[in-house]
Symmetry: C2
Subunit: 226 residues, 2 copies
């Protein structure tokens, strides 16, 4: 019996049964122990879930993206993709990441890497801090919206089926009242969620590269360009 075994069981239940399945009693049963035994290793259920979130974030190997030879934008993009892959692999656990404060060591290591990347891009400390916050918000928010609606567990279905689901759903949009929304739904159904993710990510990177430069401008002045 150990913290690791408990987290294993919790993740297993979360993966196949969603958040509702990850109860203290079920976790304990999965480990083969009485419910209360959990409280020997964690003060309460929230601590278990926090630890699990930390473990998942720790699984993102971001040392790969340290190589300063490559362009910073490419490295940020690769890291964002890696992070998304890690999160979507466990849809039921995504809620743990967006709900909590993300102040564990793995979260900080990830943030540190991101800050390093933006420093490489020529952003000053203030701009890098804001940029890393922006990117985190986008990555987590995007994945969160993507898995929203997968109420009861199971992994994310493969992309073809998800596209079909989107197509079926768009017929419920009242075309006469929301013509643009209906058209947008058709458009969105025509591309994979990875493409959509990358599109937004690249807009953000473009917006960031506009403040990147040797002067270290923090880009706080003025409204949108033009």
């Amino acid at each position: 019996m150990s913290e690791a075994k408990i987290l294993d069981a919790a993740l297993r239940l979360l993966d196949q049964g969603g958040p509702v399945a990850a109860s203290v009693r079920r976790i304990a049963a999965e480990v083969g122990v009485a419910p209360n035994a959990i409280y020997t290793y964690f003060p309460d259920k929230a601590a278990v879930l926090r630890a699990l979130a930390e473990r998942l974030l720790g699984g993102v190997d971001h040392d790969v993206f340290a190589d300063p030879e490559q362009h910073w934008g490419v490295r940020v993009e690769a890291l964002a993709l890696e992070l998304r892959a890690t999160l979507t692999a466990h849809p039921g656990a995504v809620g743990l990441l967006v709900g909590g404060p993300l102040d564990g060591p793995s979260s900080m290591a990830l943030n540190e890497r991101l800050l390093q990347l933006f420093a490489d891009a020529g952003l000053g400390p203030a701009a890098a801090a804001q940029a890393s916050y922006l990117l985190m918000v986008y990555v987590f928010g995007s994945v969160s919206r993507e898995v929203a609606g997968v109420h009861e567990g199971g992994p994310l279905p493969p992309e073809p089926e998800r596209a079909a689901a989107r197509r079926a759903e768009l017929s419920t949009v009242p075309v006469d009242r929301f013509p643009l929304t209906a058209a947008a739904a058709v458009t969105m159904a025509g591309s994979t969620s990875t493409e959509q993710y990358l599109w937004g990510l690249r807009r953000i990177l473009v917006g960031l590269s506009a403040v990147a430069g040797p002067d270290g401008d923090d880009g706080s002045s003025g409204a949108v360009a033009r």
Copy 2:
């Protein structure tokens, strides 16, 4: 007795006690009725919360931003600020918005307006759809992260106290292991969350304006600029 009274009570409890306080029994007690009476008007608890989310989104008056005289970027920014204000006014309810699928009429009306704004900006239908998705992700994700950690109810404390809390928290960052993160925390503590929100929002708008133009390019080609 009516749907409206139930939603009133639910929102009241959500505001002062957070998500945990919004139980069916508590809502019923607040209305002055037996718990089961709720099920006369809503099939289950989730339906109550969905309806409440819809009502909140319906409270965002976006007709104001239809005026095509003003620059599209200014109008998007104003809408994003209005939306954020609506959400942060009820921190306990933010979770309802990021969890659900956002397919109600108010959500669609909001999306429709956003699509219109991006069409005004010169984005083609595909790019407008992606842009609106990107903006929604940012707004909801940003607010969600902002209210994360306000576990037990109550309104968001005023900005000075939040800044103080951030400052107190940053002393827990191990400076030797995460120097950039520590520095970033100091930086973030020096600006209000509204400023941070606007900073990211403007990076996104800059990134979007790069694909805005008479050609209606969908901006899908190539990696980040440079």
